[in-house]
Amino acid sequence: MFGIGLKKRAKQDLRDTPIPEGHHLLEVNDLKMYFHTQDGIVKAVNGVSYTLDRGETLGVVGESGSGKSVTSLTIMGLIDMPPGKVEGGDVLYRGKSLINMTEEEMESVRGNDIAMIFQDPMTSLNPVYTIGRQLSEGMRLHKGMGKKEALERSVELLRMVGIPNAEQRVKEYPHEFSGGMRQRVMIAMALACDPDILIADEPTTALDVTIQAQIIELMQEMQQKNGNAIIMITHDLGVVADIADKIMVMYAGSPVEFGTRDEIFYNPIHPYTWGLNRSIPEPAIDEKHPLTPIKGNPPSLVDLPKGCSFAPRCPYATDKCHNEVPPIYTTETGHYAKCHYCNDKDFVAKNAPATSRTKTAPIAEKKGADA
């Protein structure tokens, strides 16, 4: 990917083609990515679906090993195959399938139309090239820019992401930058070709909170300016509360719940989402409430439970849950969840955790539900 010889190419970008009628900017339909290993088939991504439009931010939350990173790496075509194999489903970008693209076509999309920021800013920059050269690489490859022009644009980009003294800094090497500064460089690099979609895989996990706040603010500013879509992969519910429009909660390779930010935070219907909610220490000032953790550990992706994959840890699981895979239940607003009982309003009202909205305003309503 980071070859020395940079082919100059100035061809039609896919992002200039209009989105076909009835399609979204990005559509992921029932995507399945399995890894064939010695221990068996690892079902890393097992039926993920969502849509994304320009200017939107999708938050993908889940614990480690829930398949959130593999989903986005599959979209980018960055999974080694073998051992990986797409076992079904499709990813449509502006109506065109990314899964069926040739490597050459994919190369012009990757880093250009769809760009990615990785978790660890310490290891995702090449230590032997200057920041300027690494920033220029994408622009020279995708935009056919000359060396000088690309370097000028690099300075501009560094300035845009808030790096002081940019003319000097482009000549420096990654080790001369702090963690937060390197993550800014990664963002500048991802934005260099003005992408349609920016995938950020845990972009702030390795950073301190004060730096995290800076990076999130920067990503939002850039989105407002460029109108790109963001896929924000994180394990931190606080981060998605801050920036996401839509949220997908993943567990053991499948999305268990998907909805708008308000739906996920104030009207969650899946027991796993409730469990996550109750596991987080509340920022309450008055008194401390004990945490209610989710019992047990996530299942092995090689040997998923027969029924619902969350059933062994779910406090409400019944025989049906242990034996039958739950269907996806969708509401009118597009809010969906994968649970046998999530369309049972009484079940949800009885067991869902209290939120700041239910606690203050609709007390009367809650009383009605209890009676």
Binding site: G180, T210, E217, D242, G275, P283, L291, P293, S356
Partner: protein, 341 residues
């Protein structure tokens, strides 16, 4: 401060790591060093949880390690049950460590892969010879494993057969094997997923209720520290900035750094998050090799004045039990009008 209840008192603890290697460089007049911990003082009462928070590189882990003398402090006193840990000889140190144990951050690196968990958990009892009888020891280990929520039947398994959360439970069982009076927990949950993190936090609270152990809880996650601690201290660049009981510190922080830190933590509730007044600090923390003059925070502080770059503010008691190192400390020094961003 002369409270009979005080279990551990840290006075003016300092730790400097030399930067330059070699005999001449080390002994030259202008040898540089990393000022990891700078005049830190606090005390921990028996049975309480004292939280220590700060960003990476602020010296919180070094403080924890100096207290146990896993690394030698440069100067200062660590008084544990009336005896100065810093001046103990090896024999005294060993006896002291019976009462002070450590839980490490990384549950993958802190357990010997060649020992069964039975051996790991019983090792402290062997070293200190508290339970000479082997069968009795195994019985205690089984009880401990049961207490921390592991199956006692797994006593002969090896660490690799356990998940991260379970390994952290093994580390906790080991720390409790000697029924210590103080356990230093250095980021015990930061390597774990949220659902597992909650399990371990609950376990630590339950064990504290049962055994009355005091914790020094070191973490970077402010909401975790708030949840578990009775009192909380905030460190920045090796200095103690503020400490108080948890309620006051989180509700009415006096130090501008504490306020910025609290406001930077995203709250998992969009309504609350949208209504907050956020202070976003500019820049990175300065290097501890060459810390700024005056107040260590003045380079990033939104309300810094000329005085801040010259005089270093001392930790002073602004309200009873509430200590803060800032010239302008008062509840909420950063008001909307004073922020210019």
């Amino acid at each position: 401060m002369a409270d009979s209840n005080v279990l551990l008192r840290v006075e003016n603890l300092c730790k400097e790591f030399p930067v330059d290697s070699g005999f001449i460089a080390k002994h030259s007049k202008n040898a540089r060093s990393v000022h990891a911990v700078n005049n830190v003082s606090f005390d921990i009462k028996a049975g309480e949880t004292f939280g220590l928070v700060g960003e990476s590189g602020c010296g919180k882990s070094t403080t924890g390690r100096c207290i146990m003398r896993l690394i030698e402090p440069t100067s200062g006193k660590v008084i544990f049950e009336g005896n100065d840990v810093a001046s103990m000889n090896a024999k005294e140190l060993k006896a002291m460590r019976r009462d002070m144990q450590f839980v490490f951050q990384d549950p993958y690196a802190s357990l010997n892969p060649r020992m069964t968990i039975g051996e790991i958990v019983s090792e402290p009892m062997v070293i200190h010879n508290t339970v000479p009888d082997k069968d009795e020891r195994i019985e205690i280990v089984r009880t401990l494993l049961d207490t921390v929520g592991l199956n006692p039947e797994h006593i002969n398994r090896y660490p690799h057969e356990f998940s991260g959360g379970q390994r952290q439970r093994i580390g906790i069982a080991r720390a409790f094997a000697l029924r210590p009076k103080l356990i230093i927990c250095d980021e015990p949950v930061s390597a774990l997923d949220v659902s597992i993190q909650a399990q371990v936090l609950n376990l630590l609270s339950d064990l504290q209720k049962e055994f009355g152990t005091a914790y020094l809880f070191i973490a970077h996650d402010l909401s975790v520290v708030q949840h578990i601690s009775d009192r909380v201290a905030v460190m920045y660049l090796g200095n103690m900035m503020e400490y108080s009981d948890w309620k006051t510190l989180y509700a009415e922080p006096c130090h501008p750094y504490t306020q910025s830190l609290l406001s930077a933590v995203p709250i998992p509730d969009p309504d609350i998050q949208a209504s907050r007044n956020r202070i976003i600090l500019r820049g990175d923390p300065p290097s501890p090799i060459d810390p700024p003059s005056g107040c260590p925070f003045h380079t990033r502080c939104p309300i810094a004045q000329a005085k801040c770059s010259q005089d270093k503010p001392e930790l002073r008691e602004v309200l009873p039990g509430h200590f803060c190192a800032c010239h302008f400390a008062e509840p909420n020094p950063i008001k909307e009008s004073s922020i210019e961003l």
